[in-house]
């Protein structure tokens, strides 16, 4: 016990200790210099957590700064718990995405569940009621031994938390690739609604004000999770099995309701959830953002276990906890609210004027360090980078095969990339709150906004194979695809959050992936007027030296003014005409390089991905939204994985009718049918002539593709028709078969 009780410098730490906490020699030297003495264990732990990649963004910060973060719609950009975007009517949407990759690999259920819990806290900390959850998941190859176990645990965990706390999970993405065999990705996104003049921030205010700890008790869960999330995985870490955090969605729900009630009562001055690095990051961030100091008596922290050291209390990642500064005159009201919800409410310290973090324990000082170096002087690296060789541009001719379009279609929609995700999303409560106007299974999800006619639209997207082949184009593409998903429902995209999942940034080619995709993302966000308002970085996603396919996930949120005018992807009206938007009739030599066709049918990985032209994306997206608002479009779907014919098949499977499409007479038919050229949509319209005229007026190329029919068949050119129920059977099989 005596180790932490007396003076800060006992026991003395050495470089070896720093190293074991993930700090480099330079960082150790920097700490000694800033402190002008040797840190004790607790202090060193605090430095190591705050300077971890996870908290400090030391490898990515330089590049993140280049992203556009401003716009008239932005109320709060990156730097707070979540981004805040104006949606009119005095309302704002608050959202963020976050990764829980490593914990989910070790304990898939709890890892995924606590990921969801954590991102929800980020959103309600800002004063917003969470209204929707999304996720982006990447698993190893379907045939890998661990995949099945990880899929079932992660999906159950996401559902376990979201379903219980009562926030609908409305969308996401799942993909499989061998590069994720030893390092899955579990990214969770939460979207909330708040009054735009009632946003809560983390900066501490008012020296002397009480610092209150609320929520669940502190245990020894996930100590040093933030540093774990910042180092490479190896079989050794797997066997080390750190105490994992266990989520408690029930307490999470109580905490959410209590916090929202407290905020409505005007008692909160500043508030911060305890996420990665727990009490350390919350206290440091609150104090430093407020330009103040903080003093905490660790003996007052509600703990679950006996004999916890200062180090353990500060670095515990126990879930469902918050730190707040409250108005002392409101303390009784605040306490009554937490009593009602049966939650701990404990004044543990106060805001000070010292610019220092002072921690007391067992009558002594357990830590006394200046705040500035923890945050402002956190190391920032300009890591060298060198891109891998650029991929060759593959021609359609060299990828052609003999199969008929219908046969290729049937193969493609059965693949792991395109197969229906129903097995996943039916385990998520997608309509609790009763505001889900469009849930999983379409392009973007839509959530109605009470008291208005509006709907929030949201989607998560990334195509790692494109990013791997060309980080810049791939980064652009992730934004463009999200943008298309929103536009396809009729919603105007407003802003994005991103989750940069990469390998070890100390390797030059990985760093080049980061730089390239952030640059691409930035260009797309600028061009599409969707600034980045929040995000997360997850690096060192490697196992035994092999990196994952880079996966910079975009989460985009937008608004549709009248949600009753939104359209879905399913075709429902026979006799309507199908058009391709964003493509001339003559341009039938599609882009097959890096496509799913190339990989699954032609057996050829790689090749340059389809380029994205942002100006065309903006023009086409705007046109689609206008036509939907004018109610000229009855179904709409963007063209992405698998290309044109796959998109048509998805519209038919999701709808109640069949379709007939004309196919060009061309030597490069497979390019036309399965090319993944960007910026395109398929729409069903009532009035083809009017639609063509409008497109011409907007300078948007469109081409008539076919008709929606009463039959239950999809007919491609002169090929034998395929019954829609056969398509569904093929498309639905993959996940249930895998998970059987």
């Amino acid at each position: 016990m005596s180790e932490q009780t007396s003076h800060p410098s006992v026991p003395e730490m050495g470089f070896a200790d720093a190293q074991s906490m993930g700090l480099s020699a330079e960082e150790w030297q920097l700490i000694l210099k800033r402190l002008e003495r040797t840190p004790n264990q607790c202090e060193l732990g605090i430095f190591s957590a705050m300077w971890s990649e996870h908290c400090s963004y030391k490898s990515s910060r330089r590049w993140l700064k280049t992203l556009p973060t401003e716009g008239p719609q932005v109320i709060q950009g990156p730097g707070e718990n979540a981004g805040v975007v104006d949606i009119g009517d005095g309302l704002a949407t608050v959202f963020k995405i976050e990764s829980h990759n490593h914990p989910s690999f070790i304990e898939p259920y709890q890892g995924a569940a606590t990921g969801v819990g954590g991102i929800l806290r980020d959103v309600f900390t800002m004063g917003a009621r969470p209204v929707a959850l999304l996720n982006a998941l990447r698993f190893g190859a379907p045939e890998n031994d661990k995949t099945k176990h990880l899929v079932s645990g992660v999906v159950a965990g996401i559902g376990g938390y979201g379903n219980c706390i009562g926030i609908p999970t409305v969308g996401g993405e799942v993909n499989f690739h061998a590069s994720y065999n030893g390092n899955i990705l579990v990214n969770a996104m939460a979207v909330g609604l708040a009054h735009s003049d009632r946003i809560f921030y983390s900066a501490a205010t008012g020296a002397g004000n009480p610092v209150i700890y609320v929520g669940a008790k502190t245990g020894r869960d996930g100590i040093h999770g933030a540093t774990m999330a910042s180092t490479e995985f190896s079989d050794e870490t797997e066997s080390k099995r750190p105490t994992v955090q266990v989520g408690d969605p029930f307490t999470g729900k109580l905490l959410m309701e209590a916090c929202l009630e407290l905020m409505a009562a005007d008692a909160v001055l500043s508030i911060q959830d305890m996420g990665a690095a727990g009490l350390t990051s919350s206290s440091v961030e609150m104090a430093s953002k407020g330009g103040l100091g903080m003093e905490i008596d660790l003996d007052l922290v509600p703990v679950r276990e006996d004999g916890m050291s200062a180090y353990e209390i500060m670095l515990s990642e126990s879930q469902e906890r918050m730190l707040m500064v409250i108005d002392p005159s409101q303390a009784e009201i605040a306490r009554a609210i937490f009593d009602k919800w049966d939650l701990d409410f404990m004044p543990i310290g106060r805001v000070t004027e010292t610019d220092r973090l002072v921690l007391l324990k067992d009558g002594g000082v357990a830590c006394d360090i200046p705040l500035a170096p923890l945050v402002d002087d956190a190391p920032e690296y300009d890591r060298p980078y060198q891109a891998d060789d650029t991929q060759p541009q593959l021609t359609t001719a060299e990828l052609a095969t003999d199969s008929s379009v219908s046969n290729v279609l049937k193969s493609l929609i059965a693949t792991s990339d395109i197969a229906s995700r129903r097995w996943v999303y039916e385990q998520y409560d997608s309509h609790v709150m009763a505001d889900t106007m469009a849930g999983p299974g379409g392009d973007a999800a839509l959530i109605r906004v009470h008291g208005t006619t509006k709907g929030l639209a949201m989607s998560t997207d990334c195509t790692p194979r494109y990013v791997e082949a060309d980080p810049f184009e791939g980064g652009k593409q992730a934004v463009a695809e999200s943008y298309r998903n929103l536009c396809a429902t009729g919603a105007k995209p407003l802003a994005v959050t991103n989750n940069l999942n990469f390998g070890n940034p100390e390797k030059q080619n990985i760093m080049a992936q980061i730089v390239g995709s952030v640059n691409g993302m930035g260009e797309a966000c600028r061009g599409l007027d969707t600034p980045v308002v929040s995000g997360n970085v997850s690096l060192y996603n490697e196992t035994d030296g092999v990196a994952i396919q880079p996966c910079p996930v975009i989460g985009m949120v937008g608004v549709i003014d009248d949600v009753s005018q939104a359209v879905g992807i399913g075709v429902t009206q026979a006799g309507t005409s199908l058009f391709i938007v964003g493509q001339e009739t003559s341009s039938d030599d599609g882009w097959l390089g890096c496509s799913l066709y190339a990989r699954s049918i032609a057996g050829r990985d790689g090749g340059a991905p389809p380029p994205v032209t942002i100006a065309e994306e903006a023009r086409n997206g705007t046109f689609i939204r206008e036509q939907i608002a004018l109610q000229h479009i009855s179904a709409c779907h963007d063209i992405s994985d698998g290309g044109l014919v796959v998109a048509v098949a998805e519209m038919v499977m999701a709808g109640t009718k069949g379709a007939t499409i004309q196919m060009p007479e061309t030597a490069t038919l497979h390019g036309w049918a399965f090319g993944e050229d960007q910026g395109r949509y398929i729409v069903a319209v009532q009035n083809p002539d009017g639609f063509s005229l409008a497109a011409t007026a907007a300078s948007v190329p469109v081409a008539l593709l076919g008709t929606v029919t009463d039959g239950a068949e999809l007919k491609c050119g002169n090929e034998a028709p395929i019954s829609v129920s056969d398509l569904r059977t093929v498309n639905e099989a993959f996940l249930p078969d895998l998970m059987r």
Partner: protein
């Protein structure tokens, strides 16, 4: 028509039910915190869906021991109408107001999807009097423990007494009609006097206005009219 919705810590469909009833009747139901020991007289008490007490121990077990439940039992014993939806159904079984139990879905997975329900009018009940026998309603479910179970003799009794009010039936969903393995395809049952009903599907999520279906509104409307009779 006065309705009260009882809220337990962890309930999460209380607001949904309130909004649905308000849209249907134009009148906002009373919201009652589970610690209340007395409840002003109402025509119908509703136990909403969610995860009361985190579904810990057994679904509905901890909620069924809440102070407000005594008022619900009292109300029911005086012939008052009670509706339990999803977790509310689980709570009703734990209180003993309805027989049987709900165990984990046969495939051990949470299930959220549309289901088709056939209305069974084998006995008089305020909940089904306004509906047609065999009428099919499309209403979603979302639960982990909706697999209705009772010993064979009790099931036979439920059948004989006409207490099975809703049964899963074939519909448009690609999966099996019965989403959870419930005995006798039971989706909802009523008490012998027809005044207490528990059901797994969520009518409040199918009241039109952008929901996939408006059949939940048909169901709730019929129940509200039944109570008013």
């Amino acid at each position: 028509m006065r309705a009260a919705i009882i809220i337990f810590p962890g309930s999460n469909c209380d607001r949904d039910m309130m909004v649905a009833l308000e849209r249907i009747t134009g009148r906002r139901p009373a919201l009652i915190w589970h610690k209340e020991t007395s409840i002003d007289p109402v025509d119908m008490m509703i136990l909403p869906g969610g995860f009361s007490f985190g579904d810990y121990l057994r679904c509905g077990a901890l909620a069924a021991r809440s102070p407000a439940i005594e008022a619900v039992i009292d109300h029911a014993s005086r012939g008052g109408a009670v509706l339990g939806v999803c977790n509310g159904f689980q709570i009703l079984l734990e209180t003993g107001l309805l027989p049987g139990t709900l165990v984990r879905n046969a495939d051990l997975k949470f299930v959220c999807r549309e289901t088709s329900l056939a209305v069974q009018k084998t006995t008089a009940s305020l909940f089904t009097d306004g509906l047609q026998d065999g009428q099919v309603l499309t209403i979603p479910v979302a639960h982990n423990e909706g697999n209705y179970f009772a010993p064979e003799d009790q099931l036979a009794m439920l059948e004989d007494n006409g207490q099975i009010a809703l049964r899963y039936t074939e519909g448009s969903h690609p999966g099996p009609a019965n989403p959870n393995g419930a005995a006798h395809d039971i989706a909802g049952i009523i008490s012998e006097n027809g005044r207490v009903m528990g059901m797994m599907p969520h009518p409040e999520r199918a009241i039109g206005d952008g929901h996939h279906s408006a059949d939940g509104r048909i169901f709730l409307q019929a129940a509200l009219e039944g109570v008013a009779q």
